[in-house]
Amino acid sequence: MKLNGTYVKLDAPQSLKELLVKQGYNIAAVAVECNGAIIPKSEYESTFVDDSSVIEVVKFVGGG
């Protein structure tokens, strides 16, 4: 699958939540687009990603 423009090998389909946690993201501080659609936080667990998914994760860090 493609994550922020780079290929990531995915062994098996998994929930978006699992993927984000494995990739080290803080779920509370991201915005995610999966195959061109914005995924609301409430659907991270029910959205499944596989080897063909294209995912964009925007990470927010503190400061303003």
């Binding site: 509370a28 501080a29 915005a31 927010f60 860090v61 503190g62 400061g63």
Partner: protein, 269 residues
């Protein structure tokens, strides 16, 4: 031959061919002459549609003259678009307060300023407030400053905390929303809610501007169609990596310039 110019904010027909000759007729020899926004020391020719301001030294221009002089600083095409712009700024800390002032200086017609906080001493290291603003709501302190910088801007203020439940009501009428919060989860909440509830809104957000790493690591990106993110995307505020005026203001400048580009109908970063 008669030509038409704008003199001190009023359309005027003149026969004089140079700026100093116009001054001699309409003002006094010691008056300052401003041609298309630039103060001149040497006489120059005046062309059709030029904007001239002749003001007595040390005197405050009236409102009409002031607006005409500020307008002359922008090309007419830019000024018109920027003046018809409406931008909402969520969060009035180091980013939001500086962005609001920049947008006021370029003449964005309508600003909505949203923050629930008051000005505190800890804000003075990077936020656009003074000692005299301590204890005031940030919305009010900023509105006062904007009135002193550019009194032709309509400034609406909302003294509330932004939540998922009021995003639509607060930002519904705006094409551009600037995310300028401090906390990462608040940033993500606003961006996610806007993307979902107001899918036509362009969001200009920020992530990563703490410390004093190179300015050149801060950039403008467009990870999604309607989402622009400015910052180095990594450097979060933490103990030993505090927020400091230079990088915060570099990032605010990136956000403000992206907003200006959007107002000029340019979507590329």
């Amino acid at each position: 031959m008669k030509i038409k110019i704008t003199l001190n904010g009023k359309e005027t027909e003149i026969v004089e061919a140079t700026a100093f000759k116009v001054r001699d007729k309409f003002g006094k020899p010691a008056d300052i002459v401003i041609v298309n926004g630039f103060q001149i020391d040497e006489d120059c020719a005046v062309k059709e549609n030029d904007i001239l301001n002749i003001i007595p030294r040390g005197e405050m221009p009236n409102k009409e003259e002031l607006e005409s002089m500020m307008m002359a600083r922008h090309t007419p095409r830019v000024h018109y678009k920027v003046k018809s712009g409406k931008v909402a700024i969520a969060g009035l800390g180091g980013l939001g307060s500086n962005i609001a002032v920049i947008l006021a200086r370029i003449g964005v017609g309508e600003l909505l300023l949203v923050d629930y906080d008051v000005v505190e001493p800890s804000n003075l290291n990077r936020q656009c407030y003074n000692i005299s603003h301590l204890g005031l709501p940030k919305t009010q302190a900023l509105k006062m400053q904007i009135e002193e910088i550019n009194p032709f801007i309509k400034v609406d203020i909302r003294n509330v905390r932004v939540t998922e439940d009021n995003v639509q009501e607060l930002f519904g009428g705006y094409h551009i929303v600037c995310e300028a919060f401090d906390k990462p989860d608040a940033k993500a909440m606003l961006v996610n809610t806007l993307l979902k509830q107001l899918p036509d809104v362009k969001i200009v957000a920020a992530s990563g501007m703490a410390g004093f790493e190179s300015s050149n690591l801060i950039k403008t990106t467009r990870p999604m169609k309607n989402l622009y993110v400015c910052g180095d995307l990594e450097s979060g505020a933490a103990i030993g990596n505090g927020l400091m005026a230079p990088r915060v203001m570099v990032c605010a400048g990136h956000q403000a310039n992206m907003i200006l580009r959007l107002l000029m109908e340019i979507e590329e970063v």
